[in-house]
């Protein structure tokens, strides 16, 4: 599977070329190179995805095949989930680079170079079957992402967002590496399958539980799960639109992907018998995140920050899906991540167009001014409804699978939670849409702090206002179409469930990586979604979203009983890196403690 290696080498070489040839390359040449490299990655990863249909692709870097079940070098272990994540990242990157074509600023060849390294990092992360290589690409993704977040150094908010992003995620890196050290000390292995084989032997002890806890916390920081989520709202709210597309569309989801990957390949044998407890912990964390994110989204009047909290909320839903520890839940989370990833990218592009036109994204001052942007208004509304699980978009299909997974795992009470959270997030989006694009309701409360003062306001780019180049509307439409395709592609739901069955098969993963004999493959049961009641749930979500949006549109401030809890919540989001790190340590102690108490 040389193509998989090329999917990492091509963007890296292109990035080096962009920087090295900067004096010679004209601007358009650099842009062509950037788009071409990202598109090449998309093509390469798609071929890999197609080839991964029937079997897990194993690729040993440097030709170092394992000897007697012991890995010597680094292995890629690529199944449809890993390849799919890479395709999603590459497609979003193509859209992001196209969006940024007419979006000129300073030193932009460097911008494209950084985007390509960022993409290579995510692709490597999705392919890796090695714990330390996961860490390396985790850090590569992080470091390029936070430079991209802070790209606009002439403004204050990006600087602070980037700083918090870097500090909190660096701490995540330490936890990750500490966990790797513990695992390596116990197993003498870095290859996930090999770790799994050593750990299978006996039930987990404190070392295994704590190591798992540290690694999971590091990944949950990336995935912005409460209480590790604080940095995300700060960073995503201030990054430039093309960066947001990749951050919110795929980077955080990759954290959850890695939780699943590491659990099923390495740790699930050691935790046999304790799945119930682990399920309860992960689902609880997911639900708390989903609800909190939705409430915070409703409290926002800054469009990008609003989208950031919708992202947090939906990441919570996905964690709940992965945390069910069943193939169906995982498949639902994956499909939901793809559909929602495209639609959220579309929403960020929509907000980017608004920012391009008006120079800021505060709902208050924008009241009714979006009427001028007809196409954007329509597309933004469509994506908002789709995010609130409008059939037949991918988000609807994914959430349907999630709900089925929850019911069959005995967590039927999750269904109303999912429906309610979708309604709240949809309401937050629709209310903002109604204010900005339709001029309905009262203007929002006082402008938010970010970018609201005159000094901070500034258009993204040098284009004269009023023009909405096709390079911005094209990705917007394409992302919506992709989100739709993720819902109507024939056989996608069943295919995803089948892929998930393979993903959660601990034993056959090890066999495909290191050899040995596997049992018969598990048969995937056709999901049969959507049923009639799934349409009903969707209708409730959508109706609830419109209703909540309508009710909250009337008042300038939140309802009286909600004010105090909301203000406490908002005060916790202080923008202080010390606070955030303290929360990270608290979360790690709690999660690690629960794992140690309940899983050993």
């Amino acid at each position: 599977m040389d193509l998989a290696a090329l999917a990492i080498a091509v963007p890296l070489l292109a990035a080096a070329g962009l920087v090295g040839l900067r004096p010679l390359l004209p601007r358009w040449g650099a842009q062509v190179l950037g788009v071409a490299a990202a598109a090449a990655v998309a093509v390469l990863c798609s071929i890999v995805l197609v080839r991964a249909r029937d079997e897990t692709l194993v690729y040993w870097l440097g030709g170092w095949r394992p000897r007697g079940g012991v890995a010597i070098g680094i292995g890629f272990e690529i199944d449809q989930f890993g390849a799919g994540a890479a395709v999603l990242a590459a497609l979003l990157a193509v859209g992001a680079v196209v969006f940024s074509l007419r979006y000129v600023g300073e030193t932009d060849d460097l911008f494209e170079a950084l985007m390509l390294v960022f993409l290579a990092g995510m692709v490597g992360f999705s392919f890796s079957g090695d714990l330390f290589t996961l860490f390396v690409f985790f850090e590569l993704t992080l470091i390029s992402a936070f430079v991209l977040c802070g790209y606009q150094i002439e403004r204050r908010a990006p600087l602070e967002g980037s700083l918090n992003f870097a500090v909190v995620n660096s701490v995540g890196g330490f936890l990750f590496l500490f966990g790797i050290g513990l695992v390596y000390g116990r197993t003498g292995a870095l290859n996930l399958a090999q770790i799994g084989r050593v750990l299978d032997g006996e039930p987990a002890d404190a070392l295994v539980a704590v190591a798992f806890g540290l690694i999971v916390c590091a990944l949950l920081i990336k995935a912005a799960i409460v209480p590790f989520h604080f940095w995300l709202a700060d960073a995503y709210a201030v990054a430039r639109t093309p960066v947001c597309i990749l951050l919110a569309g795929v980077m955080s989801e990759l954290g959850l992907y890695a939780v699943g990957r590491i659990y099923w390949s390495a740790f699930s044998g050691a935790f046999t018998g304790a799945e119930g407890e682990l399920r309860a912990i992960l689902v609880a964390a997911g639900v708390v995140t989903a609800v909190l994110g939705a409430l915070m989204a409703l409290a926002q009047t800054h469009l990008k920050r609003l989208l950031a909290f919708v992202t947090v909320s939906y990441l919570g839903l996905m964690l709940a899906g992965v945390g069910l520890l069943t193939a169906e839940g995982l498949a639902g989370a994956a499909l939901f991540a793809v559909g929602d990833g495209f639609l959220k990218a579309a929403l960020f592009v929509g907000v980017g167009v608004v920012q391009h036109r008006f120079g800021h994204v505060d709902v208050g001052p924008l009241h009714g001014r979006g009427r001028a942007l007809t196409v954007t208004a329509v597309l933004f509304a469509v994506s908002s409804f789709a995010v609130a699980s409008l059939p037949p978009f991918g988000s609807f299909l994914g959430k349907t699978l999630l709900e089925h997974g929850a019911t069959s795992a005995g967590y039927g009470w999750l269904v109303p939670v999912f429906v309610g959270v979708s309604a709240l997030c949809g309401a937050a989006l629709l209310r903002a849409w109604a204010r900005v694009f339709a001029g309905l309701g009262e203007p929002a409360e006082e402008p938010r702090t970010i970018e609201s003062s005159g000094e901070e306001a500034g258009r993204e780019g040098d284009e004269p206002p009023g023009r909405r180049p096709w390079t911005m509307l094209l990705p917007l439409a394409a992302f919506i179409v992709a989100g739709l395709a993720a819902g109507v592609w024939p056989g996608l739901a069943d295919g995803t469930v089948a892929a998930a069955e393979r993903f959660v098969d601990h034993r056959s993963y090890a066999v495909s990586a290191l050899g040995g004999s596997a049992g018969p493959p598990r048969a995937a049961i056709p999901s049969g979604v959507p049923h009639w009641y799934d349409w009903l749930y969707s209708a409730i979500s959508l109706g609830g979203a419109v209703l909540v949006a309508w009710v909250t549109l009337q008042g300038r401030r939140p309802a009286r009983p909600l004010r105090r809890p909301l203000s406490v919540l908002r005060a916790a989001h202080s923008g202080h890196p010390g606070d955030y790190v303290a929360f990270v340590v608290a979360g790690t102690a709690i999660l690690g403690g629960l794992f140690t108490l309940l899983l050993t």
Binding site: F132, I143, E154, R155, L163, F174, G181, D234
Partner: protein
């Protein structure tokens, strides 16, 4: 006896994070991060150390002599480079923070609330 090394590793992680949490100066905060990261070097190398074994460089020692774990050393090399890269960028952000916010005290930088 591996206990002292492991205790020092855990201590460096916790004290480094304490510094990050209580910091009043961004440069101080960044240096404290590097202390916390040093904990991972100590842990990795302690995990790979074997009493009486030599460094895994077969220039001057016979090929059969016992050596310490070469893999963790390669991992630590990578780790050190990660730290250098992240710290350099954070320091660049600190300079910009001073220019834009007029302060390097994280308690007084606070644009992003709620």
């Amino acid at each position: 006896m591996s206990a002292p090394a492991l205790v020092v590793a855990a201590w460096l992680l916790l004290i480094g994070l304490y510094g990050v949490v209580t910091s009043r100066h961004l440069v101080h905060l960044i240096v404290c991060l590097s202390v916390a990261q040093a904990s991972t070097y100590v842990l990795l190398l302690a995990v790979g150390f074997r009493e009486g074994a030599k460094a895994p460089i077969f220039g001057d020692i016979p090929a059969s002599s016992p050596v310490v774990d070469p893999v963790v050393q390669a991992l630590t090399l990578t780790d050190i480079v990660v730290q250098a890269s992240v710290s350099a960028l954070l320091l660049a952000l600190a300079i910009q923070a001073r220019k834009r916010f007029g302060t390097v005290d994280p308690n007084r930088i606070g644009e992003l609330r709620g």
